[in-house]
Amino acid sequence: MTRTILVVEDDAETAAYLRTGLEQGGYRVEVASDGRQGLDMARHLNVDGIVLDRMLPEMDGLSVLTALRQDGRDTPVIILSAIGSTDERVRGLRAGSDDYLVKPFAMLELLARLEVLQRRRLAQQVVSTQLTCLDLTLDLIASRAERAGQVLQLQPRAIQLLEFLMRNQGQVVTRSMIFQKVWNYDFDPGTNVIDVYVSNLRKEIDRESLPPLLHTIRGAGYRLGSRGEEDFATGAATS
């Protein structure tokens, strides 16, 4: 089943770039060029996600979002905006957006975040405390991870990181997503920090003679899962 994403963006160039990128990511794309039209389409088309600009003609993005949430619609919304200061991001999230991405953005980052939202929507009801990825298991209650029957030595933060990766297994997660979700901060700590934590985790998970599970996706982030699934090789294009 192809999922549909509504892009509400008044800049034609960016809208076209989003359409191409999202279509390559396997989505069907509808584009609205102003806020009012965006709200109409969000109400009448059954879309699976909305990529919403903030500064729009007719009706600004936050008003569109507020109106949608007042309707009782829980369609996942990612705000994609040039307005990026901390307090404005908080405003966006408080207005009911599920994620906030600042322009210019990397298409891979947007796809990864959109995918996570889609997945979270499907798995919303299930609160599992037992996660599995092939021969890797994580028991959240016992804080115990095992790979191929061997217990892994992990610090609490490494377990949180592993949980995040396992909940999004098969998906690319970016460094900024990891930092936001696992450490719960939104500044840029420099990529090395995440890399060090991931490589320490990898040392535990992918021990010698075992097929690697934690993969680095160049220009994007990391993916947990067996090798050979579709690879993001498009590079980190920006708008």
């Binding site: 990026g84 200061s85 901390t86 307090d87 908080v90 210019p104 933060r157 450490w183 901060y185 939104d186 500044f187 840029d188 700590p189 420099g190 090395n192 920090v193 060090v196 934590y197 320490n200 920006t238």
Partner: protein
Amino acid sequence: MIGPALPIAAIGDLASRRKLRFLRSTSGRFAVLHIVFSLACTLPVLLFVFFQIDRIIIADFTRPLEFRQSNLERLYAEGGIAGLTAAVENRARRAHRDQTAILLVDRQGRSLAGNLSTWPQDLPAPQDWTPSRLLRNGGSEREEFLVRTVRLPSGHRLLLGGLLDNRADVHRAILLALLGAFILAMPIALLGSLAIVREMNRMVAAIAIVGQHVGNGDLSSRAALDGSGDPIDRLRSSLNTLLDRIEVLVAEHRVLTDALAHDLRSPLTRVHIQVTRAQADAAGSDQTARFQAIEQEVGYVLRILDGALEISRAEAGIGRGNFEQLDLNVMLHDLCEIYQPLATGAGVTITVVCPADLATYGDRSLVARALANLVDNALKYGAEGHAITLEGSVAGDEIHLCVSDRAAGIPVERRSEAIHKFGRLDPARTTSGSGLGLALVKAVASLHRGRFELEDNSPGLRARMILPDRHTALSSPNE
């Protein structure tokens, strides 16, 4: 005639409109109000004086008459009605000299003696001192007397009155004097109100002039305070606070735009060069390296822009609405953990010293970012000290968050320069980092109504961010 003459009606109209405008103006209403109030105060005083004087005159007047009457009553007691009649007769003969009215009538009202022909119709007996108009025998018209009547045990009635001629004179004199006082009060009230309006206008004009100076671009102009704390002084003081804020914001704006223009120009120029060269290169040659260089420069530009905007917003006090309770102990440990891998790589140990319940209200994301900048800075410039300490402590109603290293530090005279936006102690700007790190920390501190200081850690540098504790943070005015 010079120029077109206005019709008379139009001139009158203009004058009345001008008058109306004067009354509508604050000064006009003030003046009128002051006149009305001062006259309203004068009038009762004058009336009081008038009646008081009248009362004194009458009291003064009755004393000799009472003496005369007591004489007559004595004669009546001694000589009966005949003696009294003779005395009245005698008195009436001399009455023209001391202006007395006197009359004795019998039970039927027939005149026995006196200088009045009949008992006045509307005059009862007995009656205490009352002004009454009487016509004396031989007189041409009625005159005002102060009269007292008594009824004798025999049924005879006696009337004794003194002519109130000087009362009218005194009344006239007093009224003239009072009128004079009233007329004098008018210009005094007018002068008073003019003085008040002038003073008021002077005070307001002083404030308006400050506004005008600022409007004309002299942002340092301030209203002089007299320290009295009265509403006008408070107005001046709040105007000054407003202007301080504006001055800071404008200075901020100027520094930001200047520095941005300066700092963005170099990477953008490099991008421009790369693009130009890429176009000049032979078709089909590999441009990957150029594109990577361009991407790096653009990323650098974006980071500068992001930091500058964040600082500018924080310094303008935008975002206080996002304040939440912060567990600073957890935050310091988080930062230690986040930077541990980098520190280990650089041969540095990070230590956290902090009480378990260190908390305040603030913007979580910005405080974390500020502290991260300090740690980042310490790792970048203080790594040769091999030790970084993150320290949280309480001092009075303040919370001190310190990041210290053990390296060379910054000399005292260069510390303020280090905090300045785009101020880097590295003129060649070869080290990575936009030079906004410490400026952001300072801006975040001031957003939280705190301070940021650089100190000597002997050896090394101690960066101290001071935030109000949770009680002070909550009680400080929020917008």
